[in-house]
Subunit: 229 residues, 2 copies
Amino acid sequence: MSRRSYNQYCATAHALDIVGERWTLLLVRELLTGPRRFGDLQANLPGMGTGLLAARLKYLTEEGVVAPVTLPAPANTPAYALTEAGHALGPAVLALADWGMTWALGPRAEGEVYRAGWAVLAMRSAFVPDAAEGVAGVYEFRVADEVFHARVEDRSVETVHGPAQRPDVVLTAADGDTFKALLLGGVSFADAEREGRATVAGDRGLLDVLVSLFDWPQPRERVSSARPR
Amino acid sequence: MSRRSYNQYCATAHALDIVGERWTLLLVRELLTGPRRFGDLQANLPGMGTGLLAARLKYLTEEGVVAPVTLPAPANTPAYALTEAGHALGPAVLALADWGMTWALGPRAEGEVYRAGWAVLAMRSAFVPDAAEGVAGVYEFRVADEVFHARVEDRSVETVHGPAQRPDVVLTAADGDTFKALLLGGVSFADAEREGRATVAGDRGLLDVLVSLFDWPQPRERVSSARPR
DNA sequence: CCGGATCCGTAACGATACTG
DNA sequence: CAGTATCGTTACGGATCCGG
């Protein structure tokens, strides 16, 4: 338990005792798409001091949410991964992302950092299993200098950072905004390629299928009036 | 946006910018079961300073998550309620509660505060719609000095604090532990009544039905080993 | 260079006292 | 009852330094 506990016998309070401190759930978000090294975490969590990052990792390790691992050869470098309990936080992080997409995101603000990898979680959240009936495919995405991939299979999607082993199709987008527009269906892949903002290699048909697998929430405005009973 | 923003164009980060500060999600948890007055919130959030509570309410009001209301006559007293955006946080709070019940709750620790009202959220979380096929009933619960009720109808449950208008059955439990044991099915209503720890008024058959509507998660131990890929 | 540990100024929090 | 005001304590953020 963190030094500051809510001291309530309540499931929500206990959960927040462990993962409710500043940065913690964003740290879990990073690890939800696979193991990461200290430096990668630092790069994706700008504003978080190295001391704090180290302290959080240590605390979460003690609490059995995170575990240190050694990346497979040839990297052989230390990294951090989620335990089973850590992975179980996925639904909670996705529920927050869901709320954020609907009620808090809006257009990109000035100076806001954007990493395409974060869209990976959004894909999990907006994925519609029923729409993926009979769909199977491995997608690799390269956005700016980031690489991640998605594996669609059996009405489910699995999103992980890093390259795919044998992708059916590789989508390269110049920047995050282009990638987002493509995923939301606002821009066609053909148009983006024509404008030089994206390139596609492999089974392009699978990309059009991909877009149809998501149901993106309609952004709403928060208004200051009580909800009628 | 709170003064300290994560400054990331990410749905999770934006959500946490608004509701990620200390106490905020517990405050939302309180309001998820209906409007509450300042003093009630204070009483259910021991350890939170009045100044901080006032600041949070003000901030959340500005952000359109909470709205000040006047309780209906004869109370006619000021209170706080959730807006539509605030109610939309329900799934996120429940997801955290779910995780907490499985991975973080355990037995009650020494000195931990327990309010029966918190079990109300747990009931929402553990409710199994399929088990409630054809079930309808209004339950009122009185635990220690707290009163709340549940309305089961059409494969759904609605839990609100305060008394019910026309309850089918009223369950009075001496303390939270008794109430919990009854709900989890560890103790029968007859036994509890015999021991003087509970009384039942109304349609007692509905209570046995109630217990069958929940699927309580099996508590798990958090262990410090990475989850296999 | 990566993975941290240490230090210090600032902002956030917690407890209590006080006011309309 | 519903909040302000105040003040000591804790947590965070940024920078610098250190060992492999």
